[in-house]
Symmetry: C2
């Protein structure tokens, strides 16, 4: 485990901090905060409808309530949470307010926040997204205020480096990070991402760019502040990308509901069992559905987190990648 | 000009409606609602700071106030407005509330709303963005409510068709549209978009997919509900894309501040002078800076809109593309 001291702190980037937390908790997994109204326990929704009526605010408050209870029961088990902005945006400004408050709560509990927003735009607009989600926004008296204050954001590569640079500047200034979409977990990711440009596939060309964008921000652990999204559902591609991107930390979606198993995720890790964090959303947060105990949804989420951790660590052990001092 | 009647209505998609409005106003242009605090007239910001204090809500209210006045002075001149979500999201839930209210106001004035959000995600999350920005979100009593109620959204292609299909379903159900990023206006768009896949460049491959995604939704005017973003800053590529995508309506960013001139935009139009709408944001909304009259910012925006319209129409005329019954 890395120790904090003046010398190492100077070179620490957000992925050093994430790795420190992963090692401390022996847990390279994160929980996706992706609320879907029809899967939030009915008693919880009812409580907020009774208070506010059948309006977006009631839904947004139910989401926040749901996740605060899940965070309380799981924050000792995971280093990070990953709110998916789409599900909160579905309830307009009420949803965004609840998202801001849920993020603030998770931060108080020491969790690293991965904003799954998949933003992309041209330079000057990209600046706005970078300020909004990772950085701070200016106020009329020239002070600034952070709105979401997340640590790492997912972004798209299609617009090229002037789009990415906006985020990299904020990463440098405020010790934040990005995960660039390289190879996504969905079935149709093959349509463009797997097309060939000369001898390389598109996702390999993007991988080269990601390594290059990160070359000036490599931290103590050997990873730059420019990470990559590499899905759990394409193990062969993940192996290749792990070799092509030695300084790039991977966010691995697709575990669980999308079909990826623990054994599929090991290809995203280095031989030393580092360099990746695996996300699960539905499989953890809605685990209570299998247990048929809506009142105990947070307990179910805790058990599912423990099971997932065991699955990933067992898979790492089976492939000789489990870090030496970790226990299953 | 198309007339509304029972027969044509049946086949009308959102781009038929947009073209109808463009023809009625003889104006293939839209105004970008991209607020940047430092460019909002000081007297207006001060008014809201006095009311609310130096907080995000004051900024958000100033944005709304600013655009309501601009909409009042320009809605007779343009068929559509294009809010850029990033600049509103910079002020968290207050910004999103002001955005929702500004959109509602623009709709009341008969404007078509293009949500410049550039969203992209895997299928089930893409559903959430589609519901949120174009469609309706479910409430606890099984009713639904639209949150942003925009007409057309910009989206990214990198995740392939399962990401796009979520939006296409809402387009079909609720007569909405999308603009897929094909060739963007920024300098570094060449990095990935211009790479070669066999004999085609990446943006040409995406163009083929866009035509294909739209093939079942072609309306009376000959355009599908799947449009494309094709920047004004690459005229040669625009000419080629116009030929490759005969059923695709183009959103053309990059005019004005980004360097595109009226003459550069004509390549995005068909020979009949249709099939495209050109956006300007800063050049219109902050035109008062050149006129040095902050109190009259909305008047300046009106003059700038008239000038832009004249520039585009003159360019269309110079290239023999001006629709027959239009006057400059």
């Amino acid at each position: 485990m890395l120790k904090k001291n003046q010398t190492t702190l100077y070179n620490m980037n957000i992925f050093d901090t994430l790795i420190e937390q992963i090692n401390e908790k022996q847990s390279p997994i994160c929980i996706g905060l992706d609320p879907r109204l029809k899967q939030i326990p009915e008693f919880l929704v009812k409580k907020h409808v009774e208070r506010h009526g059948n309006i977006p605010k009631a839904v947004a408050e139910a989401f926040k309530d749901f996740f605060i209870q899940i965070i309380d029961k799981t924050h000792d088990l995971v280093p990070a949470v990953k709110p998916q902005f789409a599900f909160w945006e579905m309830y307009g400004h009420d949803g965004i307010k609840a998202l801001q408050e849920t993020i603030a709560y998770a931060k108080e509990k020491g969790l690293i926040i991965i904003a799954d927003a998949k933003r992309q735009d041209i330079g000057s607009t990209s600046d706005a997204y970078a300020s909004s989600i990772l950085g701070e926004s200016p106020l009329p008296d020239d002070s600034t205020k952070s709105m979401f204050d997340t640590d790492i954001i997912t972004i798209g590569p299609y617009l090229g480096s002037d789009s990415i640079n906006s985020f990299l500047e904020v990463c440098k200034e405020k010790n934040k990070g990005v995960f660039v979409l390289v190879k996504t977990s969905n079935p149709s990711s093959i349509e463009f991402q797997d097309q060939k440009i000369n001898d390389d596939r598109v996702f390999e060309v993007v991988a080269g760019a990601v390594e290059n964008w990160g070359k000036d921000s490599i931290g103590d652990s050997g990873f730059s502040s420019v990470g990559a999204v590499v899905g759990a559902t394409y193990p062969e591609q993940a192996s290749k990308l792990r070799r092509l991107m030695p300084h790039t930390f991977f966010l691995v979606p697709g575990y669980g509901s999308q079909g990826g198993a623990g054994a599929d995720t090991v290809h995203n890790f280095t031989n030393e069992g580092t360099g990746a964090i695996v996300n699960s959303s539905r499989g953890i947060i809605f685990a209570y559905e299998k247990d048929s105990n809506p009142e105990q949804f947070a307990e179910s989420a805790r058990s599912a987190t423990i099971n997932m951790k065991h699955d990933i660590l067992s898979a790492l052990q089976a492939s000789d990648k489990l870090p030496e001092d970790w226990k299953i």
